[in-house]
């Protein structure tokens, strides 16, 4: 039932906000989610993924941000690829034209650092890779916060590969070490991320604090291990930028340093070993 409803609503899009692409007219946020891989790329169906993404987007909209979303069959690689890295890349008119972006899709660690699954093949590609991205003002866009609801998106041993996209000027990149899970019980966490990141704490902190949880089965449990990375021109700045909220608009600095925020020793059970101290 839920799956059918999602298929029918697969083309959600706010045209009004697209007109502001690349311009600093209104603070805006981008989200992309896939639930059913019924295009020519593959992945197992996860019905609640767009609810998780939507909870964040709706809360951001309620707090004054213009929401833009490209879901389901509209999730294609060109929208996240920078034109400086591939001529067909169009991120500066899509995700990178907003202040914050969230992508909800299957992911896996690969040689570049992360490969996110697209719905439909574009330029012959079903995967978005780290080395195709450059996000932020210095690369023609304006994204300050990029989050991935996606497995192994900030895999510990590969996390420094995110220096590449961060050279575009983005302030914070956040994802997961190891596998994460999709279901109705996680929807509130995404709403709380938006609420906390807007009103009470930095986005990098709100990400880790809200996305960490234990799925308990009485006789065993599994832990979810989020990681947020702040980037800056100094060591101190890269740590402090984790305190930047969605609407704070801190100045842009070069991504020469990074600070990773994570739970010491967090063991995701599957898809990665325990994090260090």
């Amino acid at each position: 039932m839920k799956a059918i409803r999602k298929a029918l609503l697969g083309a959600g899009l706010v045209l009004a906000a697209l007109g502001t692409a690349g311009n600093a007219l209104a603070d805006s946020v981008w989200s992309s989610a896939i639930t059913k891989w019924d295009g020519d790329c593959s992945g197992s169906q996860r019905d609640w993924w767009d609810d998780m993404c939507m909870a964040w987007r709706h809360e951001m909209a309620d707090r004054g941000f213009v929401p833009v979303w490209h879901n389901f069959s509209l999730v294609r690689v060109n929208k996240y690829v920078d034109p400086s890295l591939a001529s067909w890349g169009n991120d500066n008119n899509r995700m990178d034209a907003q202040d914050a972006g969230l992508i909800c899709t299957h992911g896996t660690v690969d040689a570049t650092g992360w490969a996110g699954s697209m719905h439909t093949k574009d330029q012959g590609e079903c995967k978005l890779n780290v080395d195709q991205m450059k996000i932020g003002k210095a690369s023609g866009g304006r994204l300050r916060f990029f989050h991935m609801s996606s497995c192994q998106s900030v895999q510990w041993d590969k996390r420094l590969s995110w220096f590449g996209p961060a050279k575009g000027g983005v302030h914070v990149i956040a994802g997961f070490h190891g596998l994460m899970y999709i279901g109705s019980q996680y929807v509130d966490e995404y709403e709380d991320l938006a609420a906390d990141g807007t009103a009470s704490k930095g986005v990098g902190k709100a990400w880790v604090d809200n996305m960490h949880h234990v799925d308990h089965w009485y006789n065993s449990y599994k832990t979810i291990c989020p990681v947020a990375m702040g980037f800056g021109n100094t060591a101190a700045r890269s740590a402090d930028v984790l305190n930047e909220r969605y609407a704070s608009k801190w100045s842009d600095t070069a991504a020469n340093w990074t600070t990773s925020r994570y739970i010491s020793g967090c063991d995701p059970s599957t898809g990665g070993g325990a994090l260090p101290n």
Binding site: R46, M54, M180, S184, A199, W217, Y218, D240, Y262, I263
Partner: protein
């Protein structure tokens, strides 16, 4: 694949653990009949029927039904122990001066933001840490045990008594800093805070989605708090505590497991929980079997199977498309 087995805390959690393990005993002394046996957590296969069979908790449906009826009788108006009902309660708990700066359901002073979320009832507090140096990691390690005790005491003051805690864990939120091109060997390590994370139970039954988080930078220096500890009222239309048979539960679970697994090798875990749903605009709880489909190489899926035979209507929490 590594599976974390329960590391029961000494003291209160140890006692809680024993209490949890006792009521539906009849199997090994260290197995809780409300959850999948521990050994099933290691089992990956494409034989989904076998996985479901192995993961189904071994509870006796009649015993569990009586237990749920007892919960209903014990909390006819719901279980709602949290003492933080208004802004001044948070200020009292944390020793903050009273402030009215902010909005209808929150205060923001520049030094901190706190409040009680209108929709969810979540109690939240965050001290503004902009520009402030982190803790030394060694100091976080040294103070971890003391801060854990303080966090648990604070939770008790907030109304979260120890018998309500299913699981608690205290850890360090780390900050690792390095320059572009530097390896981890050349990074510097500090601590953002020491935090305690707790999950909830009512009379041994896990309350899904209910959790407490508190973080400190030192004794008496709370830097963050998030309490999702809402009132728990069983679905008011639930009048019969006759539960589905094991075969029925397995049949319903298997259909979803097959769909979520999509032909892949997966692990399956299950737990009896009280699951939040919405009925006529308010949160109520349905006794459910929570099922996790856990692949090795892509995001897992969680879903629920209602335990009662009685058909119940409710909103499952899907977000409206807009």
């Amino acid at each position: 694949m590594k599976t974390s087995t329960i590391r029961t805390r000494l003291g209160f959690a140890g006692l809680i653990g024993l209490l949890l393990l006792a009521p539906l005993a009849g199997h090994a002394a260290d197995t809780n009949d409300l959850g999948s046996p521990a050994e099933s957590a290691q089992s990956y296969s494409e034989d989904y029927a076998r996985l479901v069979d192995a993961a189904l908790p071994k509870f006796n449906a009649e015993v569990l039904g009586r237990r749920l009826a007892t919960v209903r009788a014990k909390y006819p108006d719901g279980n709602d122990p949290l003492r933080l009902r208004k802004i001044t309660d948070i200020e009292g708990l944390l020793g903050l001066p009273h402030s009215t700066a902010g909005g209808a359901d929150f205060v923001t002073t520049g030094k901190a933001t706190y409040g009680i979320s209108k929709g969810s009832g979540r109690v939240h507090y965050a001290r503004n840490l902009e520009g402030q140096p982190p803790m030394a990691f060694a100091e976080a390690q040294r103070s971890q045990r003391e801060l854990e005790a303080r966090h648990l005491d604070l939770l008790a003051q907030a109304g979260i008594e120890r018998e309500q805690v299913l699981f608690a864990k205290t850890g360090i939120m780390s900050l690792r800093t390095q320059a572009d091109g530097d390896s981890d060997d050349r990074s510097t390590l500090a601590a953002d805070s020491v935090f305690t994370y707790a999950l909830r139970n009512i009379d041994g039954l896990q309350v899904d989605g209910s959790e407490a988080k508190i973080a400190s930078r030192g004794p008496g220096d709370i830097v963050g708090m998030s309490l999702r500890w809402p009132g728990v009222l069983l679905h008011p239309k639930l009048t019969s505590f006759k539960l589905k048979s094991a075969e029925e539960l397995k049949r319903e679970a298997l259909a979803e497991v097959k769909r979520a697994a999509n032909g892949a090798v997966v692990n399956v875990q299950m737990a009896v929980v009280l699951r939040p749903v919405t009925l006529e605009g308010r949160r109520v709880y349905v006794p459910s079997l929570k099922v996790g489909v856990l692949p090795r190489d892509e995001a897992g899926a969680m879903f629920y199977v209602d335990l009662p035979q009685q058909q119940l209507t409710y909103d499952d929490g899907a977000v409206d498309d807009r």
